[in-house]
């Protein structure tokens, strides 16, 4: 019996693994494949797997979404700038939470955590109205602020876990040797936390790049980002799926790369550092 189970396991494991990989990867593969199909083959069933790839759909994206280059620029700048601020501010706060005696510090930490759970739609309405009053609608500055808000709770918790895992004796020794706290932070602690900071930044970048509902409501002309180009293509009278797929492919390419770079830390990120998967 035991042997039989072990034997069964040997057969089942590879089958399950292959099935899992196909199920996870196939939909993504299929939209990338479709983006290279000539328009007349997109709907042919059974699907055509081998064909002469064309870039026509990609050209069409630039025709149908004339501000596509601006969107690439906006999405990139917003992701980079907001990630920089969210990571820096979050790292400082996390350092304080990890190393200082602060009154009510756990309350503060959990207040930050609770913001991770707030539904984005809940923030969209007040942000829309507040931004209308202070002329931040449809501006990159407005988006910077929103994305910093979205990522801060995450960067604080993630970095706090990382600082907690660095022995405090390192800094104590450096400060006994005459370094100030800032010097010790800069020369001892931050270099030790390098990997964690990089992972935190990658995660924040992914969240910022993918953000949809705020961009949908807060942008209309100048500050448009990439994800909100898709509903535009979807609302055309005849949806050209190869164009939608080409647009989608261009949006996810950088994220595929980031997923690969940050893979070891992403589950930790998604669970605010509570699971070290």
């Amino acid at each position: 019996m035991e042997e039989f189970i072990a034997y069964l396991r040997k057969i089942i494991v590879p089958i399950v693994l292959v099935g899992l990989v196909i199920v996870c990867f196939f939909p993504i593969f299929y939209i990338v494949l479709t983006s290279f199909k000539p328009a007349d083959l997109v709907f042919s069933m059974p699907p055509v797997w081998i064909f002469k790839p064309t870039l026509k759909a990609y050209y069409r994206v630039f025709e149908l979404v004339p501000d596509f280059p601006t969107r690439v620029f906006n999405s990139t700048v917003v992701a980079v700038v907001s990630t920089f601020f969210a990571t820096t501010i979050g790292t400082l706060a996390a350092y304080a939470l990890s190393r200082f005696e602060i009154k009510a510090k756990e309350h503060f930490a959990f207040f930050i955590l609770s913001t991770r759970f707030a539904p984005p739609v809940g923030f969209v309405v007040p942000f829309y109205l507040i931004f209308s009053e202070v002329a931040l609608i449809d501006t990159l500055t407005g988006l910077f602020l929103v994305h910093i808000m979205i990522n801060l709770s995450f960067t604080v918790w993630m970095m706090r876990g990382i600082f907690d895992s660095i022995p405090v004796e390192y800094e104590e020794a450096a400060m006994v040797d005459g370094m100030t706290r800032f010097q010790a932070l800069r020369r001892i602690v931050l270099p030790a936390a390098k990997g964690g900071i990089a992972a935190t930044a990658i995660f924040a970048m992914i969240m910022s790049w993918n953000e949809f509902v705020f961009a949908l409501t807060l942008c209309n002309l100048r500050a448009n980002t990439l994800p909100i180009a898709l509903p535009k293509l979807d609302q055309m009278s005849i949806v050209q799926w190869e164009v939608v797929c080409a647009c989608g492919t261009m949006i996810i390419i950088p994220m595929v790369l980031f997923t690969f770079l940050g893979q070891r830390y992403l589950i930790r990120g998604l669970t605010m550092g509570t699971v070290r998967g």
């Binding site: 996870c24 309405v125 595929v256």
Partner: protein, 297 residues
């Protein structure tokens, strides 16, 4: 233990608040203020289509919602969506983790593939499934026709629209349950199992009395995260069905969005927002209690 750590350092310099200040300013300005703003708004009547000035009607927005069957329907749809997607993805993800817990090396190689559904841009995923689930020209119906199942109309049919969205959510998040539970299985200590073997416990007894209790914290974490995040789902539903057909996929999030940005009844939209907040808060509170309890162990 954690608290005694700072003692020596705190005596050297007490600039902890300085480090916290930027984060505090942002949290107050960008989270607390909008939150209070939304509460205040939910107590007013403000119809942007009519010329009437916004004015306080106190709890009438809430009273109107609670007296309106469509609100209860939205609440029901939200709960069904979350319940189905969390329970289905857990009942797939947990057994998968258990079967594959011994093959961690190969899973680390494949990790990027498993992570993709949950970190790739949700709207793109939504569009991809809209394409795949097209009733006449979609790939999924074609594959089903190969095994003799004909013509499911997926998101265009009121009967199947919600379950179609659940399927997409399950596709996205089962890998999350799987990877979290895998971490749980890999973190199991060896000693209790050796003891169990000495005592001659059966496989079933080991699973029931040793593995399950040890895995419980991880399960609770995974389920709480999924429950909270599924209640927040917006992007996928918006892009795939936008609450339709009719109102069969109008969750509270979609309803708040429609009220605020289509119907321009800002006060009532804000009231829905506050209700969503209250629901999520219950789960967040559970989560906070749970992590605190875990830290104190």
């Amino acid at each position: 233990m954690k608290y005694s750590r700072g003692n020596l350092l705190s005596r050297v310099t007490n600039s902890g608040y300085l480090f916290l200040a930027p984060a505090m300013i942002i949290l107050v300005g960008l989270i607390l203020y909008p939150f209070l703003y939304a509460i205040n708004l939910s107590l007013q009547e403000w119809d942007m289509f009519s010329s009437a000035e916004r004015h306080y009607i106190w709890f009438r927005n809430y009273a109107n919602l609670f007296g309106n069957p469509t609100f209860w329907r939205s609440l029901y749809i939200t709960i069904i969506f979350s319940f189905l997607s969390v329970s289905i993805s857990f009942s797939i993800g947990f057994p998968l983790a258990s079967i594959l817990s011994a093959s961690s090396r190969i899973i680390n190689v494949l990790r990027t593939v498993f992570l993709m559904p949950m970190v790739l841009t949700p709207v793109v995923i939504g569009m991809a499934f809209k394409f795949l689930m097209d009733p006449s020209t979609g790939l999924i119906n074609y594959l089903l026709s190969l095994v003799g199942i004909e013509g499911i109309t997926w998101i265009s049919d009121p009967k199947t629209a919600l379950i179609s969205l659940v399927i997409v959510d399950v596709w996205q998040w089962t890998p999350f349950i799987f990877l979290v539970m895998l971490a749980g299985f890999q973190g199991l200590p060896k000693a209790p199992y050796e003891a169990a073997q000495v005592d001659g416990l059966s496989k079933w007894q080991i699973a029931r009395y040793i593995s399950l209790p040890l895995l419980k914290p991880m399960m609770v974490l995974a389920l709480l995260f999924r429950a909270i995040d599924s209640l927040k789902t917006f992007d996928i539903i918006f892009i795939m069905t936008n609450g339709g057909p009719g109102d069969v996929t109008t969750t509270l999030n979609i309803s708040a969005f429609i009220k605020s940005f289509r119907l321009l009844t800002m006060g009532e939209g804000a009231a829905v927002v506050i209700i969503i907040w209250a629901i999520v808060l219950i789960f967040s509170d559970l989560f906070v209690r749970f992590t605190k309890a875990r830290e104190e162990l």
